[in-house]
Symmetry: C2
Subunit: 206 residues, 2 copies
Amino acid sequence: MTSVRPIRLLLADDEHLIRGALAALLALEDDLLVVAEAATGPEALAMARAHAPDVAVLDLQMPGADGVKVATSLRAELPACRVLIVTSHGRPGHLKRALGAGARGFVPKTVSAQRLAEIIRTVHAGNRYVDPELAADAIAAGDSPLTEREAEVLEYAADGAPVAEIAERAALSQGTVRNYLSSAASKLGAENRHTAVRLARERGWV
Amino acid sequence: MTSVRPIRLLLADDEHLIRGALAALLALEDDLLVVAEAATGPEALAMARAHAPDVAVLDLQMPGADGVKVATSLRAELPACRVLIVTSHGRPGHLKRALGAGARGFVPKTVSAQRLAEIIRTVHAGNRYVDPELAADAIAAGDSPLTEREAEVLEYAADGAPVAEIAERAALSQGTVRNYLSSAASKLGAENRHTAVRLARERGWV
DNA sequence: CGCTGCACATGACAAATGTCAGAAACCCCG
DNA sequence: CGGGGTTTCTGACATTTGTCATGTGCAGCG
């Protein structure tokens, strides 16, 4: 008997083209078997419950719930399922959040399919794998200097909402909100809250 | 002789994983031949010059120069080369710009590889193809209601710069700048200039 | 020509935002 | 326990931003 039980995979990515192509390429590897595909966060969760894959390969950006949220849920529901996050444009902070959510691997889409297959095996074996370049970025960017409240308020401010609305949603006084925004902006070296939001986004801190 | 001259393709996408997977899938089609790949805009241009492909499949978002810019250059240098733009998240305005730049096709990455192959053939035959859903979005979004100056000022405001800086860069008084921002915001139905910038971005008007 | 509509431009005023000094609550460590 | 530091929170003040009334010039039209 040369046949070994293959590694069962769940593939989640909102771009059908990529997902399909990926499935085809990974299928070329003898020891990998794609058992389920999903296009959204909730769908990925449902598929995972139904098929209990060995490894879930999740895109970071998906409609419904992003890869990190899915990873968190999977951690609770299917502890045996290893999570590997794949992303187009890696923001340093996302890496940290992903690892915090129990992801075992984090790679950019710039790797080759061959390499991805190897990484899937690595993760399945119980080891971790983080793309070296992303790791370097994450270390360079460091930890978020923002306090919990600062981050919360920045999040509310993200879509350009006026302070009054932020204050209401965060149950704070307007003055306090302005204060948090101000200190967040100065910590990030931004002139105003809007550039602060942009910077925090880039570093993955919101 | 059953062999027909295949359609020669150039594939340009900054994500190696996707590009490689795509190349593999398209290679399965008898009549398609990937003759060159590129990861950046300039690289795509160089490759096109070197290999003179029949169809160039370009990602919209690439480092260096985006798909539309590449399309413009190709139009001038290699008029025989049909351009097909592929994008992850289609903004209505981009479609218009792409067609204006001479692109013959515009599709989201949510199509299947099979479908993409058909579309490549369609485009190669000299016809145009635009994804119906994106077309509907573009029609719904309509033309930009912004005047030249309004768009210019919004562009400067895009990265959160204060009005004073925008005024200097646009060689206008601060009052005038605020005026344009204000009218642009009201045209877009936004509360303030920052959400206006976001909306204009989403519709591809900046 | 005179009128209308529109893009472009400005400054004055009102509203929203950013900055500051400081107070209460909390945590950590000696 | 007590003191040093940090987070959370507030109001007062200065600055920035948004709104409005208004003016100019230009293109199309009766």
